[in-house]
Symmetry: C2
Subunit: 440 residues, 2 copies
């Protein structure tokens, strides 16, 4: 099978790529614009500016004042949103098909006519700081993810949080936002994805009349980020908080992504994650949750959607009576078994069938498809890469799976622990420790 076989794509004279995925089942359309810029493209010391600009893009242009775009979407019964990742920033609207021309006009308008004033920027910075407090600082799991990330990528910018470090968010201002906008928000750095009840030729005409009128505003150039060096040992971070409801431990490795992996490496990592830890028949779930009854949950994941390298992770959450150390040991035993003995053809077949079935179901979602292609095209992949993914998955052999496991999961992992208790006071162990003296 090929994903979205009726997809068409063209590029305007100013470099803007347009992807059209016709879907005539309902008279609605999803309109997205994806900029090839994310937090990993931020200037040093300005973490958070990509996400901050995403907020500010709703603040009005020389033509449409603050809030006008959103109001027009809402008045027409549409939905809109935006999101920022390490590699891209995207904006979308889902509206009745007759409103597509207006959406394209408004989105094109804010690519070049954004107007920011200190009066608008300063309160929005407070909004972002509050978002950080809510989403990161008050969530132990988020704080762990942020810290784990930071010690996993110590040199590559993937180590910085997308929302930004607090002290750097505080220093963002109108000038830093506009400088970022002028450098990266240009048609030759964007992909428009339109999925829904549309005709390709009509979209081509609309695109020429809206986005096509925008001059190339900048030449962002190649996206080269500092490489991540290998570190010499096993890294670990523990976040302890009484608000934690379920303790967990994860072990992660940096691995090739869909973009950096050669040949079938990314798909073999996908299959490996499935066999090890996705779904109820996975090895980790079966061993830790069902057979040993030691874990509440256990699994694996492969984060392959990245311009630079991705991540592979294994995790488990203990049942009462078991510790995180137990979980680590059990996870490592399952990994070791796989590294020693590989996987069976039956396991690979089952993974392939299930993964491809999921891809077929996913085609049912108009916005899901739009997001799939937008995300891929802004992280170094081509339309063909995405479309041929099922064929690539089907070509994976048990030998491929063993090879990627041995190549990428035998190095030092980075371990993250989420613990319920407040860190214990070591002085409480004084009595025990004083017995040490008799040991030697």
């Amino acid at each position: 099978m090929v994903i979205a076989p009726n997809l068409e794509s063209f590029t305007l004279g100013n470099g803007l790529q347009v992807v059209v995925i016709p879907d005539r089942r309902a008279p609605v359309v999803t309109h997205m614009i994806w900029y090839k810029v994310g937090s990993a493209d931020e200037p040093e010391g300005q973490s958070g500016v990509a996400h901050f600009l995403e907020h500010l893009m709703f603040k009005g242009t020389s033509t449409y004042p603050d809030g006008a775009f959103s109001k027009m979407v809402a008045e027409r019964g549409g939905q809109e949103n935006a999101f920022t990742s390490a590699d891209y920033t995207a904006y979308f609207q889902r509206v009745a098909k007759e409103h597509l021309p207006l959406m394209m006009k408004l989105e094109a308008d804010r690519m070049e006519n954004l107007v920011l004033t200190d009066e608008i920027v300063a309160p929005e910075r407070d909004v972002v700081l509050e978002e950080r407090r809510m989403r990161v600082d008050s969530e132990p799991g988020s704080r762990l993810r942020e810290a784990l990330n930071a010690i996993t990528f110590v040199n590559h910018p993937y180590g910085s949080p997308v929302i930004g470090w607090q002290s750097e968010i505080e220093a963002l201002n109108k000038d830093s936002a506009i400088a970022f906008y002028d450098r990266f928000y240009t048609p030759n750095n964007a992909v428009v994805v339109i999925a829904g009840d549309v005709d390709v030729e009509a979209v081509r005409k609309l695109a020429a009349e809206t986005y096509g009128k925008i001059a190339r505003r900048a030449e962002p150039g190649e996206r080269i980020r500092p490489a991540e060096p290998p570190l010499a040992g096993e890294r670990r971070i523990a976040v302890s908080d009484p608000r934690v409801r379920q303790e967990t431990v994860s072990k992660t490795w940096i691995v090739p992504s869909q973009s950096t992996g050669a040949g079938r490496t990314p798909e073999a990592l996908d299959v490996l994650a499935y066999i090890l830890g996705e779904g109820p028949s996975s090895r980790l779930h079966k061993s830790l949750v069902l057979d040993r009854e030691a874990a509440i949950s256990a699994g694996a994941y492969y984060q392959g959607g990245a311009l630079d390298n991705g991540r592979f992770g294994l995790y488990a959450a203990p049942r009462p009576g078991y510790t995180l150390e137990d979980m680590e040991r059990l996870i490592t035993i399952e990994l070791r078994k796989l590294l020693d003995a590989g996987v069976s053809q039956e396991e690979v077949d089952r993974a392939q069938n299930s993964m491809i079935a999921s891809a077929i179901y996913a085609q049912d979602s108009q916005s899901g498809l739009a997001r799939l292609f937008g995300g891929a095209l802004t992280t170094g992949q081509s339309i063909e890469n995405v479309q041929s993914w099922p064929a690539q998955v089907n070509a994976v052999t048990p030998e491929d799976v063993l090879e990627v496991a041995r190549s990428y999961l035998t190095g030092f992992p980075v371990t993250g622990e989420l613990r319920i208790e407040v860190p214990s006071d070591p002085a409480a162990t004084l009595t025990e420790t004083s017995e040490l003296k008799d040991k030697s």
Copy 2:
């Protein structure tokens, strides 16, 4: 007491600062030039360029070819060397006094007339790569320090090694070295320190004739580096290698430096380090090494010489029969005792006397004094800061020591473990682990 009370300093019209420390005991002179640039000032992705340029500075100028400067020093029976840190790069010669004019002439020459060719740069890059292999990659202790550093400073450039990450050293070339040179090697970004059998007026005249002729080549501006964010948990890295001869564990915290610490904070941290872990009567040595006989060595240190924040560390190495976990517990018990009960006036007195006595002895070393002032002036301190350090130390009270301990050593430490054994295979614990099933 005041350190180097006969020191004099002046600034040339081009912004170069000259510090003269007369010392007439022998007819020799130490001539140093300190540039206010180090690895923490490197462009993103070019780690190692400051140190690489230090190597290349010996490769000749338009006036004196490759090796000529070093040859002239050697022929005159002198010594020379150079070193790079996160905050500065320094070059020095120690020669008979009559050769000072020549040293100043040659050092001034290479501030503006460096000539690099690909033929010279490429082999020198191999030299640096070999230096990295020898000093870092083959030394488990160095690999631990590098990795510990990287997870301690995840955003601030102090997390990058001075020598550079291997992949980034490999990408350095003539252009990156010259760009760095042109940006930072300018008289207004340098301090010349001359200690020895010299007359201030004679030095003033010589400086005008040599360094004074160099135009301001650039305006490096304020040295603002990305701040280090607080992370939410305890970090840890373990390096295991069969070549390790002695296992050790250290716990470190980011603390104010001599430059960033307000009031007597840096000196109180100095006194705290002394009481906790410097010398044979320190608390850690007494408790872990002498009383409990659990450690081979144990101590504390304060790294206060930094433009941005410094580090405070506690460490211990176990005797046979004891583990790193034992060491951690014992270190933490001593720290906890201090945090609970503070330090005595007697301990502070003893620390002050010893620290000031050391400072007095240190004045005996001509190059040591030159290095003290050069290092201070390139990491944000003034001559007065250095000279009044003994008075500041003498003003520290037991309350000051307790306050800095409570302010800075109660946050999450970053722990580094150096272990002898190869990481154990968790599958070897299979039997033990399978007993887990009966636990709950």
